[in-house]
Symmetry: C2
Subunit: 213 residues, 2 copies
Amino acid sequence: MAARDYGQYCGITRALELVGERWALLIVRDLLVGPRRYGELAAGLPRIPSNILAARLKELQEAGILRRAPRSRVIVYELTPYGRELEPVVLALGAWGFKAMGDPREEQVLTPDALAITLRTAFRPQVAADLPATAYAAHLGPTGLLVRVDGPSLVVTRGDGPADLAFAAGPSIHRLISGELAPGRAIETGVVEVLRGRGDLLDRFATTFHLAA
Amino acid sequence: MAARDYGQYCGITRALELVGERWALLIVRDLLVGPRRYGELAAGLPRIPSNILAARLKELQEAGILRRAPRSRVIVYELTPYGRELEPVVLALGAWGFKAMGDPREEQVLTPDALAITLRTAFRPQVAADLPATAYAAHLGPTGLLVRVDGPSLVVTRGDGPADLAFAAGPSIHRLISGELAPGRAIETGVVEVLRGRGDLLDRFATTFHLAA
DNA sequence: CTGAATCCGTTGCGATACTG
DNA sequence: CAGTATCGCAACGGATTCAG
């Protein structure tokens, strides 16, 4: 089957048998943002060996967590409904690990899909509900993330589009979300570079997305 | 350090670096129920090699997730505050994996600590709030679990004690919690054996602890 | 050019034996 | 009882090659 089993009749062991192998939950993490092609997954997981990626995709498919879907000539991988139910697991892991991230090291990358999930983790619906609807465009190197907040609802997708504030950032955005770095200081120090729109909206961004470190 | 890293600056990768190794989260699972000695952990994880248990304990300790604590001459392992913050992760995994458990196989065991966490996962505080305070004693083979429900609060510990209902059960209790098996049928078919107290309270138990499959 | 399969060196795991 | 030591094996990591 999928993996070596633990010999216990328990939900946690079952879950770990299905998604406990190395890299598996990171594939799920990226697919939670949207369907991805093989190459997109490989790009979002720069250090995964291609044989491992292929093996995981096969295992996750057999476990009913994702499926291969043809999309106008090309194959994309997308989560099944059961796979999407892993979102609380991934968000809980992200919230817990957020506190142990420390400072970014030189060799560490921040991928768009990882940031998308971090934003979902850090999103405070009850805070956002009292703020005006806002669209942010966050750029990480070449790729962009479109972040739409409307009342208590959040949608994060890849790509660009009309936004009230467009900014470029890197791994240090972690310190903005943790509250370690004030929005004003983030712009001054170049951690966040305002590309278009109202830079003062970064304040609202930091209020909307917050996770204690 | 603890483990091979993923090369990403992301909360989820960080979490998986700390607790993503095989067996690690199962050690955390058991310690969430209470402090445990080395031998108790080994007994609760029948298939873990002793060298792996020793290695994981060392890694989890270095990661600040657990600590060795002397308790009147013997050493016990207990979670640190940061380790206890893994509870949402473990419960979310348990809830997700619960749906994929299927029927118990011959070689699969149900340990007291695993059941304790399953009960925490399946606990419905808002339902329990409207029911009288109740103490259950659940026996799995030799060891017992004391389950105290008082309004919306739940405490599950090892051991025996005064209970409104004491019963013996095995892995098939899964079908009671999932609602697949009605409490009356569970007693009739011997899946649950009433040892002491009011057997009709099993109804309340099944209402209090419920997780869809 | 994307989506893998193959080969092979390395590492972590599993089983058992052993020690303070 | 609480670990440590050893060894075979399976999984992982990296590079290369192959197929649609």
